[in-house]
Structures are given as structure tokens and as C-alpha cells.
């Protein structure tokens, strides 16, 4: 078996190559041999991890849950981004719709992102149910199933959700707080047309998944080097900025409970 640690990464954008060339260079400088293998979708990456083609998968929360199920809970997790902790979904609503809470959504048109997006479809539908709204009866769901297979990574479906609410084609919609914060910062939001009205409980998003718990120790050097990346160092900052984080953190597995319940509730893998 080769000593080179193979990390699977889904190429949701051309910049993924730039990011991972940078990360590979970072590890090479620390005498840790790693390479990255690109996949076009998370299903293929999950299969590759389980078949032993790759050692580590840079997974979305949904891909992690899938691996967890398929390994019977034996998989391990190495690390995640700071922004993968405390992730929330926002329900945004047209300013003139009168929607101020989740219950106000009853009878309304509600837009969701790609059906395999944890933050813009699966979890929001689950949270609605938790809060007494049956998505198949109480609301008219508008689906933007774009880039399916990439678990909402591309963000294109959230752009459509926001636009639908702005244009009045939907009364409300669900987006991840990461996209929402970006939209606010980049002046894509006109507060007289659209605003956030509800924030979901916090959950966790992406992580580096390994096949078994023992791999956490096996790849400890890799994980420690990753965690040492410093946003206040110029070369490392470039990589972290592109990947959208300030620092890597240890996994917080409690943050996946809601998604486990959601995929069961919605029979997502059935």
C-alpha cells in the first residue's frame, strides 16, 4: 500500500483544484505525502472511501451520514472547518408577505434548494415538521433541484431561492446561513423586499470522514498538520479564504443528530 494519503474531494467548482493544490503543497512542506482525488459527486466519493480507493473523504454532512449508515457507525471523523460548527438554516420571507414565524408559512409557497442539500432542503423540511408544519400538506413547496449530487455545495439553488423570494415567485424560502451572510455582505439583499424571519437550531456541516475509528489515529499527523494551518500567515490564509474558513477544528459529532433524524424522518436513503 502506498504511503501517500489519498483525500477525496468533490469538484463542485474549478477553484477546488487551486485550493487542494495549495493544501497538498502545505502538507508536502511538512513532509506528509498526500494527494487529492477529484469526484464529480458525493455518491461516487462515498463508494470510493468504502472501497478503499481513498483514505479520507472531504464530505458534506449528508455524505457523512451516508457513510455512517453504511459502516454501521464505525466510520471516524478527523476534522472540520470552524464554519461547519454552529451552522444554521434561515427561513427568509418576502417583506410584504406578513410572514414573521414558521407557523405563518402555512398556506404559502416556500422555496427550497437542491433536494440533496442538507442545509437548504433536508434539514429545513425536517425542522418544519418538528415545528408542526407538514411540508406535503401545509405549504406549496417550490424545489430548485440544481447540481444534484453535489449536496448544495455549488450554492446555485440557494441563489434561486433568494431570487424567487425577491421576485415574489415564492413567499418564503430556506437557505444556509453561510449563503445568507454572504448575500448580506455582497449587497444582494434588499431589506425592503426580503428578510430573515427564522433561524434553525445549530447543526454541523462538512467533515473529513475516514472508514473506521482506528484511522483517526492512523492519520493523526495529517490531522494535526491540518489543524495547525494559520489564517494569520499569508500563504495559508489564501487557502483558508478560498475554502471559506478561518481555522480547522476538531470534530463535534453531536452536531449531526438532527440530520440523522431528518434522513430517517424523510426516508431520504430509501
Amino acid at each position: 500500500m502506498s504511503d501517500v494519503i489519498k483525500v477525496g474531494v468533490v469538484a463542485y467548482d474549478p477553484k477546488v483544484v487551486t485550493i487542494w493544490e495549495g493544501i497538498k503543497e502545505y502538507f508536502t512542506a511538512r513532509s506528509i505525502a498526500m494527494d487529492f482525488i477529484l469526484f464529480s459527486n458525493y455518491d461516487a466519493q462515498c463508494d470510493a472511501l468504502l472501497d478503499g480507493w481513498i483514505d479520507i473523504a472531504w464530505n458534506t454532512n449528508l455524505a457523512y451520514v451516508k457513510i455512517h449508515r453504511r459502516t454501521g457507525g464505525k466510520c471516524g471523523v478527523l476534522a472540520m472547518r470552524d464554519v461547519d460548527v454552529g451552522f444554521t438554516t434561515k427561513v427568509i420571507a418576502g417583506a410584504k408577505t406578513g410572514i414573521q414565524s414558521l407557523l405563518d408559512l402555512k398556506g404559502k409557497r416556500v422555496a427550497f434548494g437542491s433536494r440533496d442539500s442538507g442545509h437548504a432542503a433536508i434539514l429545513p423540511l425536517y425542522f418544519l415538521k418538528q415545528n408542526g408544519i407538514n411540508p406535503s400538506q401545509d405549504i406549496t413547496a417550490i424545489r430548485f433541484d440544481l447540481d444534484v449530487g453535489k449536496h448544495g455545495d455549488t450554492g446555485t439553488s440557494e441563489v434561486e431561492v433568494l431570487n424567487a423570494v425577491i421576485k415574489g415567485e415564492a413567499d418564503a424560502g430556506a437557505v444556509g446561513d453561510q449563503y445568507w451572510a454572504r448575500a448580506l455582505t455582497e449587497n444582494l439583499v434588499d431589506n425592503s423586499k426580503v428578510r430573515a424571519v427564522w433561524t434553525s437550531p445549530e447543526y454541523c456541516h462538512c467533515n473529513f470522514t475516514v472508514r473506521e475509528k482506528a484511522d483517526e489515529r492512523r492519520f493523526a499527523d495529517w490531522t494535526n498538520a491540518l489543524l495547525a494551518m494559520d489564517y494569520n500567515k499569508p500563504a495559508e490564509r489564501k487557502i483558508l479564504e478560498m475554502e471559506g474558513l478561518k481555522r480547522w477544528v476538531r470534530p463535534q459529532l453531536d452536531g449531526y443528530r438532527a440530520l440523522f433524524e431528518a434522513v430517517d424522518e424523510l426516508r431520504f436513503f430509501n
Binding site: F87, R195, Y231, K246
Partner: protein
């Protein structure tokens, strides 16, 4: 920067989509990592927006409390730096503004006035005195040394240049043009052709160096930019004069082109400045005065007068620059001499000044080809060459060359004048 560990901002009804984030960001800039910022708001959506924004920017949102119909958010500042630099910024300096005028000579304030011995390639295009973020790319400027690139006089010459700009379309009395004797008009057109080609080199040479001098030496770069602008106007006005009065552009000789090409080929800023401005443009001052003295028409006289004033500024800047380099670089004189000798050897096959130009100088002074005036006009032309040499020697001795050295350097100067 003043830090305050407990700072509070009242954002009124401002939403995160309406610049609340700028207010919050600037307030966080004033506190240390770990300190808490309190934001009071009347806007309901802030309870959803601020936690999202805080999380993405690595600040910790402690939560929101509703109080008397308002929302109170508390954010703990994170430790990541917005700008990767630990250099303190200047603040509190005031420029000495006199009679409403802020002279460039007086802008050496605080760090903006600290001229480094060697400029940092990674300071790039940042203005001198700015705090440059780590990780900025290294620029490939190759004139980095203060004693090559900076001179005390540059700011003053820059001020003179910006005050002295004129408009070649408007400020020349073009309506005064009248028909001239054909031989005389042809001579003027030949001289204008010659002047224009020389001025092209006087534009391209400083333009080339602007791109190579580190922006830290801003005064030099800004002055050279005015020189480029001046030369553009000169090229324009000489071409216009050649075309304006029924004549046209005349011959450009291979020898002139060869001489000018050697100026472009120089690989050292100080040597190039010495050859172009001290020797070349210096010699042109006498040529332009000669044309002004002998021109038969008001338009040509005014063109020669105005361009000579600009060229005088270029010569004085270069003299000031070379003089200051000579004070610190003891080997410079020798290297300048070698460069001049080398150029002379490259041009040794050259026959001298383009004969058509030389004849035109005589015809100009004679007012045409009238036999009775050609003899005295030839004397005027000979006198011009002597004056050019004497003034070159005078300028060279003024910046520190001995009489003997000045004589040698002047003799080696190109017969093309520039």
C-alpha cells in the same frame, strides 16, 4: 489605535443589508480580540443576520436579548486579523497649507516622509507610508535604491511641471501662420520632423524607466510622468507645425534613428537620465533657442519658446538627480564616462548630424536660399555648435566634473544632439 474593552453601538433600525455590518465591523476594529461589542437595534431581522455574519467572520455571538422592544446583541471579537500587518498607521499629522496651497514639497509627513535606503519589492504600488499587508506579491521593479532613484528636487520640479502645462492645440497662435518661401518652409518642416523623432525618444526613455522605478520614490516617478506628458505635447506640436502650413513631414535619417536607439538601449536609470536629459535635452535647449531666434514666423517661435521652457525643467531635474547620486556614488563618474564612450563607439560609423537637418539650420538662419545670407547663416550654425559644447561643459562642471572631464564627455556626445 485606541482600544476600549466594552463598546456599545446603537444601530437604530439599520438592517444588516443596509450597512449595519460596516457599523459593526468598524466598532470591532476599535476593540481587542476577546472583547465584547454590544449592539442595540430596533430591527427584528438583526437577530437572524448578526449571528450568521459573526459565525462566518470568526466572531462569537453571545446571543440576543429582547429588551423594551429593542434587541441587544453581544459579539465577542475573534482573533483573526482583517489585515495581515502589525505596522502602526500614522494619524494626527497636518500638512502645512499656505494660502490654500498644499505643495508637494511639504507632503513628507510621518511615515509618508520616510525615504527608505532600499525599497521593498512587496510594497508594490502601495503609497509610501501606507501599511502594507503581508503576503503582497513581489513586484519586479529594479530601481530600488534611494541613492539611484530619489532626489530632493523632484517634488519642486514636479510642482513647476504641473503648473506649466500648456495646450498645443490652443496656446500656439496658429491663426498667425502665413505662406513662406518654399525653401524656408521645407527647412522648418525638416527641423520639425527631426525634433519630433528626437522627442519620441525623450518620451519613451522616461516612460520605460517609470515602469522600473519603485513607487516608493514617488516624486521621481511623478516628475517623469510630467516629462512624458511634456514630450507628448512636444511631439504633437512639432508634427502639427510640419503639417500646418502646406509643407509636410520630411526625412528621418538612419543616423538619427541609430543615435536615438542607443538611448532606449541603456540598461541603467542614472546613465540613461544622464545621456538623455543632461547631455541630450541640454543640447536641445541651445537648438530650440536658435530656432526661436531665427524662425520667420510667430508660430514656430512660440513653439520653440514653449518647448524650451519644458526642456529646461527636464535638464534641471536631471542635473539635480545626477548631482545627488554623484555625492554618494564615487564610481558613478567613471561609469558615466564609460557609458558615453561606449555609446560613441557604437555610433562611430555615423557621419554626423543628418545633413538635411544641418542644411535646414543654415537655411532657417538665412531666411531662405538667398546667396548673400548663406555665409553669415553658416557662421550662426557654427556658433550654435560651439554654444552647445560650451553649455554642456558648463552643466557638467556644475554637477562635479572637472574641466578636463567635462571637455572629454562633451566631445564624445553624439553629433545628433540627442
Amino acid at each position: 489605535m485606541n482600544y476600549d474593552s466594552s463598546i456599545s453601538v446603537d444601530a437604530g433600525d439599520l438592517s444588516a443589508a443596509d450597512r449595519l455590518l460596516i457599523l459593526v465591523t468598524r466598532a470591532l476594529d476599535k476593540v481587542k480580540a476577546g472583547d465584547t461589542l454590544e449592539i442595540l437595534s430596533d430591527n427584528a431581522s438583526t437577530q437572524h443576520d448578526l449571528p450568521a455574519w459573526s459565525r462566518l467572520n470568526a466572531h462569537r455571538c453571545l446571543g440576543t436579548v429582547a429588551h423594551n422592544g429593542r434587541w441587544c446583541h453581544r459579539i465577542v471579537k475573534g482573533s483573526v486579523l482583517r489585515m495581515l500587518t502589525d505596522k502602526e498607521l500614522d494619524w494626527g499629522n497636518h500638512a502645512p497649507i499656505k494660502d490654500g496651497r498644499f505643495d508637494t514639497r511639504h507632503w513628507l509627513l510621518g511615515r509618508a516622509g520616510e525615504i527608505q535606503r532600499t525599497a521593498q519589492p512587496s510594497d508594490g504600488f502601495a503609497p509610501r507610508g501606507a501599511s502594507v499587508e503581508e503576503g503582497s506579491p513581489e513586484f519586479e521593479f529594479d530601481v530600488l535604491e534611494r541613492n539611484r532613484a530619489w532626489s530632493h528636487g523632484a517634488a519642486e520640479f514636479y510642482e513647476q511641471a504641473t503648473a506649466g502645462h500648456w495646450d498645443a492645440s490652443r496656446d500656439i497662435p496658429w491663426r498667425e501662420l502665413h505662406a513662406l518661401d518654399e525653401d524656408l518652409e521645407r527647412a522648418i518642416c525638416q527641423l520639425m520632423t527631426f525634433l519630433a523623432e528626437n522627442e519620441f525618444s525623450a518620451l519613451y526613455v522616461p516612460a520605460k524607466w517609470i515602469a522600473r522605478i519603485h513607487p516608493h520614490f514617488a516624486e521621481t516617478v511623478l516628475f517623469l510622468a510630467t516629462q512624458v506628458r511634456d514630450e507628448a505635447r512636444h511631439i504633437e506640436v512639432f508634427i502639427k507645425r510640419a503639417l500646418a502650413n502646406g509643407g509636410g513631414l520630411q526625412f528621418s535619417s538612419a543616423s538619427t534613428q541609430a543615435s536615438l536607439k542607443t538611448l532606449m538601449d541603456q540598461q541603467d536609470f542614472v546613465q540613461a537620465s544622464f545621456m538623455l536629459s543632461v547631455l541630450g535635452e541640454g543640447t536641445f535647449l541651445d537648438l530650440l533657442r536658435y530656432i526661436e531666434t531665427h524662425a520667420p514666423d510667430q508660430v514656430t517661435r512660440e513653439i520653440a519658446r514653449r518647448t524650451r521652457i519644458d526642456e529646461t525643467r527636464h535638464v534641471h531635474f536631471a542635473l539635480d538627480h545626477i548631482r545627488s547620486v554623484l555625492q554618494t556614488d564615487t564610481g558613478l563618474k567613471e561609469s558615466l564616462y564609460r557609458a558615453i564612450a561606449n555609446r560613441a563607439s557604437i555610433l562611430s560609423g555615423m557621419k554626423g548630424l543628418n545633413p538635411l537637418v544641418e542644411e535646414s539650420l543654415v537655411i532657417l538662419a538665412a531666411g531662405g536660399l538667398s546667396p548673400d545670407r548663406l555665409s553669415s547663416a553658416t557662421k550662426a550654425r557654427i556658433q550654435l555648435y560651439e554654444t552647445m559644447h560650451e553649455n554642456r561643459v558648463r552643466r557638467l562642471t556644475a554637477i562635479g566634473f572637472s574641466d578636463r572631464e567635462a571637455e572629454d564627455v562633451s566631445q564624445l556626445h553624439t553629433p545628433n544632439f540627442m
